[in-house]
């Protein structure tokens, strides 16, 4: 029984670490998007701003979903 709980907790931890790594990756992509959009604005290429903002918003939504996933896994592993 204890072994099963331990294995479940371990799986939860692996899932959380994976989600965190993914969030880090998404934030890095967002930093790149922001710098590219700013560079475009300064160079007078304003047409890059809209796709960058849309994509950045989608990445933010992914981050929110992953954060709620991490919270849920954490809660479940504490309850068990």
């Amino acid at each position: 029984m204890a072994d099963r709980d331990f294995s479940k907790q371990r799986k939860g931890l692996v899932a959380m670490d994976g989600a965190m790594a993914l969030i880090v990756l998404l934030v890095i992509v967002q930093i790149w998007l922001l710098s590219a959009a700013l560079e475009g604005l300064l160079a007078g290429h304003t047409e890059t701003a809209l796709p960058a903002a849309i994509f950045s918003g989608l990445l933010f939504l992914c981050c929110v979903a992953l954060t709620s996933f991490v919270g849920r896994v954490d809660r479940e592993s504490r309850e068990e």
């Binding site: 959380m16 670490d17 989600a19 965190m20 969030i23 880090v24 998404l26 934030v27 967002q30 930093i31 998007l33 922001l34 959009a37 700013l38 560079e39 604005l41 300064l42 160079a43 007078g44 290429h45 304003t46 701003a49 809209l50 960058a52 903002a53 950045s56 918003g57 990445l59 933010f60 981050c63 929110v64 992953l66 954060t67 991490v70 919270g71 954490d74």
Partner: protein, 168 residues
């Protein structure tokens, strides 16, 4: 609570202060994830700000300003001036008998003032060795990410008048 404390017992302030420094520094996975999501929100807001800037910034109205007289500077010579405001330093270069080009003097890398190199006919930034074409302001070499903004000139009688700034 005993009135007298034993000499070998833990210091009173340690007993009463309930938070340990190590616990305070500890960042849980959930906290770290929340922080990253907040950073992600910051990036998104930054992108929205750029979007708003690019949509709602009205095209600037530039004043007309006398820059130099015809023949005032020799071939290969330069004249420094400020346009459109006194804080925007610019450089006018006479590259040939009938060829005058004016650019913003601010390097697009880190805003150092560029100067004209007559021998190579280019504008050089002394800070990080960036070079721009003296003909169109495009980047020839070095770290600058984009060309120098061009000052639009108009010939008015015996004078050159600055009428606008072209960024791209």
């Amino acid at each position: 609570m005993p009135f007298f404390r034993k000499p070998d017992s833990e210091a009173l302030w340690k007993e009463e202060f309930s938070i340990h420094a190590a616990d305070e520094r500890y960042v849980s996975r959930r906290q770290f994830t929340k922080f990253l999501t907040l950073a992600s929100l910051g990036m998104f807001v930054g992108n929205l700000w750029i979007l708003a800037r690019s949509y709602f910034t009205r095209s600037a109205v530039f004043p007309r300003s006398m820059v130099a007289g015809i023949g005032e500077i020799p071939v290969g010579g330069v004249k420094l001036f400020a346009y459109p405001t006194a804080a925007d330093h610019c450089i006018l270069v006479r590259t040939a008998e009938n060829e005058y080009n004016a650019f913003s003097q601010k390097c697009t890398h880190l805003s150092c003032a560029v100067y004209y190199e007559k021998e190579t006919n280019r504008l050089a930034c002394p800070c990080h060795h960036g070079y721009f074409s003296a003909m169109d302001g495009s980047v020839l070499q070095g770290p600058p990410p984009r060309r120098l903004p061009r000052i639009l000139l108009e010939r008015q009688g015996q004078e050159f008048v600055a009428i606008g700034v072209k960024v791209r």
